[in-house]
Amino acid sequence: MLEAINEKIGVKMPHDNKNSGQSFAQLVAEKDNPVADVVYYGVTTGIKAGKDDLFEPYKPAGFYQILDGLKDPEGKWFVVHYGTIGFFVNVDALSGAPVPQCFADLTKPEYKGMVGYLDPSSDFVGYAAAVAANLAFGGDLENFDPGIDYFKKLAKNDPIVPKQTAYACTVSGEIPILFDYDFNAYRAKYEEDGNFEFVLPCEDSVRVPYVMSLVKNAPHSETGKKVLDFILSDEGQAIWTNAYLQPASPVELPEEVASKFLPTSEKNKQAQTGTKRICSVPSKPLEEPPFVTSRQFAALCLVPLSIFTLAFLALPLVRLVLSSAEGEAGWGVYVQILQNPRYLSTLINTVLVSLAVTAATLLISTTAGLFLVRNRFPGRDALVAILTLPLAFPGVVVGFMLILLGGRQGLVNQLLPGHWIFAYSIFGLFLGYLYFSIPRVLLTVMSAAEKIDPTLEEAVLTLGASSHRIVIDVLLPTLMPTMLAAGAICFATAMGAFGTAFTLATDIDVLPMVIYTEFTLSANFAMASALSVMLDVVTWAMLLIARSFSGATVAAGV
């Protein structure tokens, strides 16, 4: 679609994969000075944003073709295409189980660990899937209990709950059954190598409109209007169908495209089961979030940096501390954190994982670093190269590698089939952080170890000490300051690491993830700030303890 827009009307649009919640947070944050001209998202976000006066009303050329109820009468938002919720199934990854046909099938033990759905509070697809399951079991938009009951039952079957679009997870077989749109399933079916199916649940489902809008005070509003005109033109609408999206206006589908959608009989079934439109009745979409300003957003971005230097620490911390009290609870937000078992256990989890990672990294990196510095042998350079290779990998890539190693289709699970999926557990997170930290600590230790005078060791050896004593009496005291510095960086990084947790994120609750959820998804800015402050204070306190403890050790050693 973006390519076609570039070609036809000469507007280059950036690839921006933000999901609806994130787009909304950005729109609110940039309200007075937006970067975007047009936005695209799920319908409830659109209605919410329309109420908050973030959009400029605009009626593109094709506006009158859209049915009433599927557009804002003033043109603040309008439907550009649909998606139907169902199961996106990787048939080969089912391990022989039949393709599920109903929501009810998925709670059976044969689909244990195979079902995935996006976090309903995070992504619109997830929300739509929750609505679909709710309708399927007799609920409506006022009564969510049947849906909640269903997801409770499903929870016993170990579902995977990613925060963001999980197309690749299904294609790769990590999530064999995903609650997703028909267009994603069709894209896989016709464009990927493999055996993919789209299943319309036998109970019921929903058809979800996706909408676009012109952003209020847009920097290039004329260009934005041109883009919207094109998208609603017959030509633009036909392009959606090439991506397996059902267009908003009733254009004639090309033969080859029409044949790819559900066959007519299936479509009748869709009609008979009363596929409901959830567009015009989202009486209670999501909670109305408080406003977030870009200034506060900048403060939050500085959190990881602030851990490292006091200069950077001071300003954002002050701002963070102040903004944490701006919520309804005021300063009581800290009491809330300490009284809420979820936040408290998350905090403890984060500290424990970080401590374990620091200890393991120091042990492995120091052993390997000393060995590599003290011994010359063929292949040594290759080992050093391998050990420092992952330095440039961001946390997200590390998470991806962990999935390659310990995921459902991972190497370990293939070699030892059965029960070796560890990528999505807290142990997977531990390994991810370890992977991230080893090269960093190793380099530091090696550069310090190279400066140790080898004659010192020889002297001790001549005096008859065992090699064991050399490590304790010579090497460790000399390396102690370096190890402490490296350990501190390692610990602080693990405390604040986000990418790895985000990629693996299923049921892992570490503090940075919770902060992300509070900020982006719930837009609960005061709580996010308060949690950031807690993260900072705890990390700081731990480092302070380590430093005072080390002072004694170094003094005793020298």
Binding site: S172, S365, L387, L389, P390, L402, I438, L442, S467, H468
Partner: protein, 65 residues
Amino acid sequence: MLKSKTKLIKLLVTQGACAFLFVPTLQSVLAGLTVNYFRGISFDLTLKWIGKVWRLYADSVMLSI
């Protein structure tokens, strides 16, 4: 004797760390060259992903550098 034994342990730790860091790296490289990651490398090797990635993300790669 003790020295060579501790040395052996150190060597094993070093090699273990290397394997831990390198195996997933290798896997991700292979995943980038397989026609279908799900069916594994035995299925077939291809360079089509490299071309696809370059077409889509060349701008981003340049920007990062």
